[in-house]
């Protein structure tokens, strides 16, 4: 199975649905260790991306579609998640420029570029209690599954599962990046909202492409 423009659009539609449904959940996680805006911001960003989706899909270019999503998130989400997810999608799209279809291997390379974009922008390391803690295990699982010859739906399910584990593993961590780091030890015991939205993003891909 290859990944088409319609598949990419289905992923973004599913993201918009998922972030609307989890708006209060993400905001509540953020209220515990941040500033209570993560769910609101993600919902606003993906709702705007959904609006621009028909025009972006009409390009017939997976790369162009994902870059439009990235630029939309950059200009609508704000906070730290705006530049982080914006950079993720812009790099993801940049890695598959001009392609109407992506092979699993090409998708792995693109996802890799997106995750590296997040690390470049946020300068976070694994274990800092950020979205990187969900994205890196997802990237590794995706890469390993595709290498073993798995089809994309199975590889994405494995990536989402790994992101979920990474997300849950942020709970005992003490935050070293972002607003939660101001709490010091008091940030431990709370699941990271950024790792949670990263998991939801991966889960949406697995669900949209199953």
């Amino acid at each position: 199975m290859s990944l088409s423009v319609a598949d990419a659009a289905a992923w973004i539609s599913e993201c918009a649905r998922v972030f609307a449904a989890n708006r209060n959940y993400l905001t509540a996680l953020d209220a515990a260790i941040g500033d209570a805006d993560h769910g609101v911001n993600m919902d606003r960003g993906f709702a705007a991306a959904l609006e621009r989706l028909p025009e972006a899909a009409a390009t017939g270019d997976v790369g162009a579609l994902l870059r439009v999503v990235g630029m939309t998130l950059l200009s609508t989400v704000g906070g730290a998640s705006g530049p982080l997810y914006g950079t993720f999608f812009v790099r993801l799209g940049g890695a598959c420029n001009g392609k109407a279809d992506l092979s699993p291997g090409e998708w792995v390379a693109a996802f890799d570029a997106g995750v590296e974009g997040v690390r470049f922008r946020g300068r976070a390391e694994p274990g800092d209690k950020t979205m990187v803690d969900a994205l890196l295990p997802a990237r590794d699982a995706l890469r390993a599954a595709v290498k073993e010859g798995a089809e994309l739906p199975q590889a994405l399910a494995a990536a989402a599962a790994a992101a979920g584990e990474g997300m849950r593993a942020t709970t005992p961590l003490v935050a070293r990046k972002g607003r939660a780091s101001y709490l010091g030890e008091r940030s431990a015991g709370n699941q990271d909202p950024g790792a949670t939205s990263a998991y939801l993003l991966l889960k949406a891909a697995a669900d949209a492409w199953s």
């Binding site: 905001t27 911001n41 989400v77 704000g78 906070g79 530049p83 982080l84 946020g122 003490v174 101001y182």
Partner: protein
Amino acid sequence: MKKLINRPDDVVREALEGLAAAYPDTLRVHLEPGYVVRADAPVTGKVAVLSGGGSGHEPLHTGYVGRGMLDAACPGPVFTSPTPDQMFEATKAVHGGAGVLFIVKNYTGDVMNFEMAAELASAEGIEVESVLVNDDVAVTDSLYTAGRRGVGATVLAEKIAGAAAEAGQPLKAVAEVCRLVNERSRSMGIALTSCTVPHVGHPTFDLGDEEMEVGIGIHGEPGRSRVALRPADEIVEMLVEPIVADLPFEPGDDVLALVNGMGATPLLELYVVYRKLHELLEAKGMRIVRRLVGSCITSLDMAGCSVTLLRCDDELLRLWDAPVSTPALTWG
């Protein structure tokens, strides 16, 4: 939640429209993307000073736009950094050919968004300098946190950098004096109540009737510790001691003091705070040579206060005393 609003989604835009209607001689408001510029922008040949951040801290930043202070302010949604496209459009609107100074409070989101805006402006051939404000002594500055937060010193940095720019100083010099203000300033705050973000509808954290939160920032984020409420004089001591020890401030220092309300604290109580501050600093052999008492950098409807001290010299005082004409700060 009881708030004087229409709909949570409209708060920021409607406040900007109100600001534009109230101060047409001082500033202009642009919507989509949202930014505020001084009425006569761009001023040819003058360095432009631009700041921004989440809304909910008013009068910061929009209330400080005008002659002698900010050329532009970019308000984000409540407690959420504005976006690079906003900052870039504002930059182009105020660039008078002498470069643009970004004053950035040290929060992860603000830093990343301003970084991306600076990249966009450089690509357009506009010279940009950025100064990070990080004066909050409540946060341990180490490799293991996002670093100290920018709080009260932001107001002082905007006033003083704005005066330097107004006096015709070049970009490097304006950035340098702005950095100097940050290096010589320290702040700390406490909260008596949490605040309620309009979109959320309930307080960000719960604080008992007999409790206070020490070391809060300006986003309703909880502080470093929660302790039993005590009289104002003791609270002022809890704020002043870490501030003085950190720089450190020394006997003989001339300081500018900001006693800041967090949004829901009456001026009556801030004067009580200033009274004790004055007494404590005098006992330490320091002299308050200028002061600002009021709600200057707030956290929506939070009750509480912060204290900021800046070690002054003649040059900083001259720039502080220079004329300023903005909605929230006017003299000279």
